[in-house]
């Protein structure tokens, strides 16, 4: 029998972790990427990677609490078994990365140093300066190079994944891809295809994402029948540096190391920031969130910064929106040691030293919680069955998705420093499942009739040729991309309104029709970036429409998806009985809303439009509870909620049901 192979699409943390683990299991891997894998977008991750550790354990932390923080921060929209499994693997993954030589920051005694990130009260985050993603990626890149030298891995860098090859039974048998240098299109037979292609940031024009993050690989799977879930949940990072070509991330670790967010109390105070006295500064996050202060979850920090500028008129500058992120109270040496990487970026791109002058920042599109729908196999203890071929498989047999391009771990909002963990975890957990899948396969893909592969190759070749042959004078793909980004940024980010979303659906459909009439300024057959971009642009539309339609239909507020028309608001009464009544009503409404909306959005592409259905979420381990960060009346709501939960538990236990779920710290 011919050797069975796995094709991995994307060489970021997820793809590299999967490649390395598969190679260890003795499986041959083809690794395909738009860029040399060492230049993947994972290098942009700055702050760190979360796990429970010996120190936090002694402060009462454990894996369950990390799991709890993750689902609570994500507003309970994620299936719980994969998240639980990830939290329990966390410490082991850090150990592994440590062994691979990642230059994590150290304590004086030589242990891993940790910092605090948003949405938790524990210092769980291991870090390597402020370039943790880069350092983790390099460690995996090095291991993959080692396997490449040993002949187990074959890299295809500068190759564009054009789509999966499906046989007559709808089973994935490989992929078609294009060499970005020679423009050759060929098919790659594979016994499993794993897509780890990252997020779709370019749909928003400018974001914190890299230029390769077009979402095209995920979209091509979507257009081949793969389901796409929770697309409307797009994380807008609270702190980014505005730029003409890109919105550069300013890591949450800046706040984790003590950075304070503020605006002058006097609107557009003309004085230099450092000369404004303490009493005339408004530290609005600390004021409104006394427990988490500057480290509230990202969706909340983003809305507050947006609000203070747009609605309260307190932006630092008149002509553009921004707030101060201030590190100037921290000793220079400490800043250099822990945050050197990101402060260097600010200095290089803004020409201002953030060690002496507060930075000016504003929110920017950053991460997609949604992605390709994937399955899992639940174990008897509520985690995952390690080695199950169901883990991370899409609804297309033999097609898998891992990393940011799957939807599995972060629900409605991702906690900082959890993405590096989910990327590496998903790469590691998919490998033993693939091993079993391959063992069970009767025939290697390479032995299937070549007509199957040739048929798919020809389809892509004719699509490509038709684009090149198109007559001139049509639409300009770069300008259409700009328009798409502007629409998406305006209506599908921090605040969402149904009238705007409805209108945007029309606009984006029109843009899609126009994009289909693009003509190319380069019709050459060598390193033609123009045609590659145009294809990626066309593939942005099915996902853009999925995001918009999902957002339009979801009439509620959950995590990053915020619709003011459906917000619950705070308690207003001061009289205790009335306040209690309000809290009861609040909880009633919360329960009714969950009954309706605590569901994953599942989109499918019909060929020209998006069809949406909803799927129940497995919340069997931690019952959903109100997310009450900073809400007025939170204590009263929590009291009512806890009484209800206790009553439910008693009732359940009386029925001889399962053990009560553990309720951990709330807001």
């Amino acid at each position: 029998m011919a050797t069975k192979r796995v094709l991995i699409v994307g060489g970021g943390l997820a793809g590299l972790a999967a490649t390395m683990k598969l190679a260890e299991l003795g499986i041959d891997v083809d690794l395909m990427s738009l860029v040399p894998v060492k230049r993947s977008h994972s290098v942009c991750a700055q702050g760190g990677i979360n796990s429970v550790n010996d120190l936090t354990r002694q402060q009462g932390d454990d894996e369950w609490l990390h799991f709890d923080d993750t689902v609570y921060g994500g507003d309970f929209l994620q299936h719980q078994p994969p998240v639980k499994e990830m939290a329990y693997w966390g410490p082991k993954i850090i150990d592994l990365m440590d062994r691979l030589g990642v230059t994590f920051n150290r304590t004086p005694e030589g242990m891993l140093d940790r910092r605090r990130f948003g949405g938790t009260l524990f210092k769980r985050t291991a870090f390597a300066g402020a370039t943790t993603g880069q350092q983790l990626l390099y460690a995996l890149d090095e291991q993959v190079r080692r396997w490449e030298a040993a002949g187990k891995v074959k890299k295809y860098e500068y190759w564009d994944f054009l789509g999966p090859i499906l046989d007559d039974n709808g089973i994935c048998r490989g992929a078609v891809a294009q060499d970005l240098v020679s423009m050759e299109i060929r098919s790659f037979p594979a016994d499993a295809v794993v897509v780890g292609s990252g997020g779709p940031g370019l749909i928003y024009g400018r974001s914190t994402m890299s230029m390769a993050c077009t979402g095209s690989a995920a979209s091509r799977c979507f257009q081949s029948g793969g389901k796409y879930s929770n697309g409307e949940f797009i994380q807008v990072h609270p702190t980014a540096i505005p730029g003409a070509d890109k919105l550069r991330l300013m890591s949450e670790s800046a706040r984790g190391e003590g950075g304070r967010v503020w605006v002058p109390r006097t609107p557009q105070d003309p004085r230099e920031a450092v000369t404004i006295p303490e009493g005339e500064r408004f530290y609005f996050l600390e004021d409104r969130y006394p427990k988490y202060k500057n480290l509230v979850p990202r969706d909340i920090a983003t809305r507050e910064i947006f609000d203070i500028c747009v609605n309260e008129g307190l932006s630092v500058e008149k002509d553009r929106q921004c707030v101060y992120l201030d590190l100037t109270h921290i000793p220079r040496q400490e800043l250099d040691r822990k945050l050197g990487g990101i402060l260097g970026i600010y200095e290089k791109f803004q020409g201002v030293d953030p060690r002496t002058t507060p930075m000016k920042i504003f929110p920017a599109v950053h991460y997609s919680m949604g992605g390709l729908w994937v399955d899992y196999e639940r174990s008897s203890t509520g985690g995952l069955v390690v080695g199950s071929p169901k883990n991370h498989i899409t609804n297309v047999p033999n097609l898998y998705a891992i990393g940011e391009c799957d939807y599995q771990y972060h629900g409605a909002n991702r906690l900082g420093a959890n993405s590096l963990l989910s990327c590496i975890f998903s790469g590691l957990i998919v490998a033993p499942g693939l091993e079993n899948l391959l063992k069970g396969a009767k025939q290697a893909a390479a032995e299937l009739p070549s007509s199957l592969f040739e048929r798919s190759r020809k389809q892509h070749q004719s699509r490509h040729d038709a684009l090149l042959k198109r007559s001139g004078g049509g639409e300009n793909p770069y300008l259409i991309h700009q328009e798409l980004g502007d629409v998406m940024t305006k209506v599908a980010t921090v605040v969402r309104r149904n009238d705007q979303l409805q209108e945007a659906l029309g606009k984006v459909s029109d843009l899609y029709a126009r994009a289909k009439k693009c003509s190319l300024s380069d019709t050459g057959t060598w390193t033609n970036q123009n045609v590659v971009f145009t294809k990626a642009l066309l593939d942005m539309f099915p996902l853009a429409l999925t995001i918009l339609k999902g957002a339009l239909q979801r009439d509620e507020c959950r995590g990053a998806h915020f619709k003011p028309d459906f917000a619950f608001g705070s308690l207003t009464a001061t009289e205790p009985a009335e306040r209690r009544r309000q809290a009861e009503a609040w909880c009633d409404r919360f329960e009714a809303n969950n009954a309706k909306w605590l569901k994953s959005t599942v989109a499918q592409w019909t060929g020209d439009e998006v069809e949406i259905t909803y799927e129940e979420v497995d919340t069997s381990l931690i019952p959903p509870r109100p997310r009450l960060y900073g809400l007025v009346g939170a204590d009263d709501i929590e009291k009512v909620w806890n009484q209800r939960s206790a009553a439910r538990e008693t009732a359940q236990n009386g029925n001889g049901s399962t053990a009560p779920a553990k309720l951990a710290g709330a807001h």
Binding site: Q134, K246, F349, T493
Partner: protein, 286 residues
Amino acid sequence: MADSHHNPNASHSARSFEVRILRQDGPGQPSYWERHRVEYEPEMNVISVLQRIAAKAITADGKHVAPVAWDCNCLEEVCGACTMVINGQVRQSCSALVDRLLEDRPGEIELAPMAKFPVVRDLVVDRARLFRALTKVKAWVPVDGYYDVGPGPRVSPATQEQSYPLSECMSCGCCLDACPQYLKVEVERLEGESAADFEARANNEFDRSFVGAHAISQAMLFNSHPTGATSAGPRLDALMAEGGIQVCGNAQNCVAVCPKNIPLTTSIGRAGRATTIHQLKKWFGA
């Protein structure tokens, strides 16, 4: 959102500026200069200049041309992709700010591909040799495997502070482009040669040529790691083989152009001592 705003305090008032680009249609083709005119906008970098040129694809003389090809990804100087020669200096185009460039040379920006790597097209070069050098020096920690077997070795903060800067190397190739000893190696695929044969032949050529400062520095990074040190010997052997550290002419250009300020000459010095000792040990059978 953060992207829809302009800096009202833009210091530069020029309405437009000229961009001279050294283009080349493909490997083995002649190169030629082409002039483009770009409207000035505040806070531009060379990436946004190239984006404007790609969107317009019309030269300063009004001629329709194919968009200029270039490489980029992260746009925040951590991926290394967008390296090119800008106003005569090898650097990343994302962190090359137009205001600064025009201050140094009013009215004009000059872009050329890296000089020491074969041009693929326009500003895109093939840096496969650079990555090959990482394989040659075994730039990895040879762990037993990826199962959970507990934490790694303890590392003092002093060691970490020495290793971290070396580990920030993003394989951009600036150090190589500026190095007088690093000469261009261009291997062309022969008629009828398979991709695998071509790759093997190219790698063979690369292995005989100078590995360069980045790879020497990576060898030192892994030799100083407790587990990495178990392969210290083979790494030093690689540095003593053809194309090894002896080729270094001590021009020190590498350290001067490194965008991450990696102490490359310190690494080269360490490698020099380590290889000498390694050689002596070999002679005396120690």
